[in-house]
Symmetry: D3
Subunit: 193 residues, 6 copies
């Protein structure tokens, strides 16, 4: 296992964190078997760590979303790859493989989603996500119409935009801090179904 630094910034001991953050992290560790480095790197500033995960949950765990868990991860992988964010491509690539039960899909979407084994509807979703990521100021009614023609409603469109916007923040923090993905993520979900 690698002993490369997790972040350009100092990483606190989990046990020294505020009680709620300590519980959050130990809970994740118990479930996943390891602590994803994003928790440790952002714990350099516990208030921002707390705000980050509250915002994350408000977007990603919203009840009533018509996007599947795999589709949300597709958005993250496609936009994070375009932003060249190693942490997010590797960590969310693993989640995408697991949720989609497709061992090939994350590498396909990270490299060229136009050639990925996904539906036309999902390609339209990723077209929109990349437009929000790269030129949100030109988004207009015509873009909404395209998504509606694929069966997305306006709340779904907010979801696509909000996930893109939130992980755009995450990509920039990961690149700022030189956040290192845990070695465990690279191979997760690669066994064929």
């Amino acid at each position: 296992m690698s002993v490369k630094p997790i972040s350009r910034y100092s990483v606190p001991d989990v046990l020294d964190l505020p009680e709620d953050m300590k519980e959050l992290i130990l809970g994740v560790q118990e479930k996943a078997g390891f602590i994803p480095n994003v928790f440790l790197a952002l714990a350099h500033r516990p208030d921002e760590l707390r705000a980050f995960f509250n915002y994350h949950d408000a977007i990603m765990l919203r009840e009533g979303s018509n996007l599947t868990k795999a589709e949300k991860e597709m958005i993250i992988v496609a936009t994070s790859s375009d932003n060249h964010c190693l942490y997010c491509v590797v960590a969310h690539g693993a989640l995408l493989r697991i949720y989609a039960k497709e061992p090939l899909i994350a590498d396909q979407i990270a490299t060229n989603y136009h050639k990925a084994d996904i539906t036309e509807r999902q390609k339209a979703m990723l077209d929109f996500a990349l437009k929000i990521s790269n030129e949100a100021h030109t988004v207009g009614e015509a873009d909404f119409e395209i998504l509606r023609s694929h069966g997305f409603d306006d709340e779904d469109i907010w979801d696509i935009g909000a996930i893109t916007a939130f992980f755009g923040l995450s990509n920039r923090m990961a690149n700022l801090t030189a956040m290192r993905p845990n070695d465990e993520f690279y191979a997760m979900g690669r066994e064929p179904r």
Copy 2:
């Protein structure tokens, strides 16, 4: 005064919002004399509104930052202009004029910060902010060294990066929702000192 819609999405009645969000908004209204539209547009989803402002405060109100309030607004105006976000340029342009007590500075930074009446140190700060905004993946030790040579420490650099990343999210949400700046912002802080 304009009666143009504030957002592409429906805007709830403030009085129908969860208690904490209602209090937040009414408090802002009391102080500012009006409700900035970002509160109303994001209130379409109260959980995201709450997460947004908690994250905002964690970054913008952090104790011990060496950046002045005006410098933080410079970062927001420069990156939001580069992202063509009308809401943020107009609203934070107003705040920048007020904090800096400089009626010209916001238009200068929004159009071309290289020609603005700011210090070389502040230009280096904005160079870095735009690099985080547009190509964070190439940021490296050399960029940190430049900022350190201008007297910024690594926590200041995190601040610059985090403000850029957070308002990058904000810019994308504002463009997604076609968020309209309040008319009041345009003229605020324009009277000469």
Copy 3:
């Protein structure tokens, strides 16, 4: 009021200029109450100053144009902002506010004309102006057709193109000379109607 230099180059005394240029400038001063810095900065070379304003007038004062004075300024503000020309955005933003009698419109167009309070016809005009500014070599019959469908005739289209081309020159000269907008321009036309 600022005592920052008007230009990177030396600025002559108006009284030392050739008679016709002296008259031009004193006439403007009488009307406007101040001398816009573009006259002083370009007066570094009186022959170019003369040529500049003759060309300006040939395009901007052409009789029979179907573009309103406000529409011409919209073109200038949109393309000058895209070219990051501080002088032109600030000075022509003032003119736009005054001609349009709209205190908000210049900031809207400078930041993101897609979200400005203008007509679809005006947005098509600005789409074309930015295409001439950034990739004139790809302009073809299809672009003319779009403008004609909005009621522009071919002379209007020449106007749009010529204004864009002329202020593209102006933007480059202003950035070359670090031309400084007069402080007076920033606040002009901002009082609500």
Copy 4:
């Protein structure tokens, strides 16, 4: 010889033009043996034609410039090629070959001036011209210093910038009007010295 249209717009009969423009054009015809199409295409609007050539002469014929005639044409060919302006590359390519007495130089500069048979000083001049053409807003003291280190003074730098700015206007007008270079230009100056 081609009978393709000279311009997307109507071209007047030279004899119907205002006296001064008629004289200008007939004088050029006498000297060159043909009328360069730029005169005819812009004659669609005689006032703009007059303004164009007055401005052209103020910049290109300025007494005391340290740039050679060939160097001025290098700037025009390099920036016009970058702007994909067929008229200017072909017509000024011919002038460049003639003034420089170098049959290969225009094609070299139009394709890749980094590989052209010109001096390091001339490459620095073209670097600056392309910076003015593409991102004038970032030009600053450091760029002036580079040119000064190659022996250019600040008036030379104004010349480089003004030629670039003026032909940027010309490139956009030529592309707007689909201005066609005269067939004669293509082969001029190609015989070896």
Copy 5:
């Protein structure tokens, strides 16, 4: 005639080359009257020289192609100009003039094929070639449909793509080695028909 170096790398004596390469080059010299420098520059590594021309012939001399010799050269000139490859623009510009029997066409296509004297079908061919050159990953069924609507079949499309891809390699090798076009090429084929 110029005595500038042909390549940044050493160039072997033709007589020292492997027998097959020596024959190839002497054969070309006999036919053309001179040795095109691409043979000499690549002869720095005879195995790569051999592979280059075998691949070249497999693509360019394929029997049954519906593209004319001139059309193949149009693709090379348009994409090589976009890649700023002096050798290929000059050498293949000469071939294009000769095959097309059109003295103006190469300069037109190198500068702005949208304004060249070619058919709409040929413009569609060049649109596709530039898409393969610059963003092949976005090419899809819709692009094939456009070409089919102009009468190209799928084998023609492979030809367009393969020529673009092969000369993309060639452009990069020429720029890596600073390959110099023979002076002879510049003027070839310029005499009117």
Copy 6:
């Protein structure tokens, strides 16, 4: 296992190929346990298939190269990712993991080589490869000097450039044909050492 098509174009039966190509492919199959799809997709035109692999071997198997097999694959993965070529990123990512005996390295280089676990010398190599891929026309002596300062000689630099150029061709052909990577490649070399 997937039954998605290997190529947009028809794929011949290996047994129907010319003898030398049949032997080549069956030899690869025996060694690798499967036939990499690049052989089958390019076999649509056997002459191009033969030329492709002869060229490939001339570059990749050159005796005396100072680049390791892993370093050559780094160049392929970095430039193919930048070109969004799914086939090459997946297939050569597998080879890179195997040659480097590093299960994480391919994903790191494909996403952001600046953050990969490689040496400064290897980063300089990839900087140069991407410059050749994206703007070879600006490569000059200064770029050679940087590489020499990292211990590369001019033959190594040719290798870096030639590998980049050849796989640039390969990337374009793979995207043209929608070449599908074999499922086997995705997981190869991922087991920790």
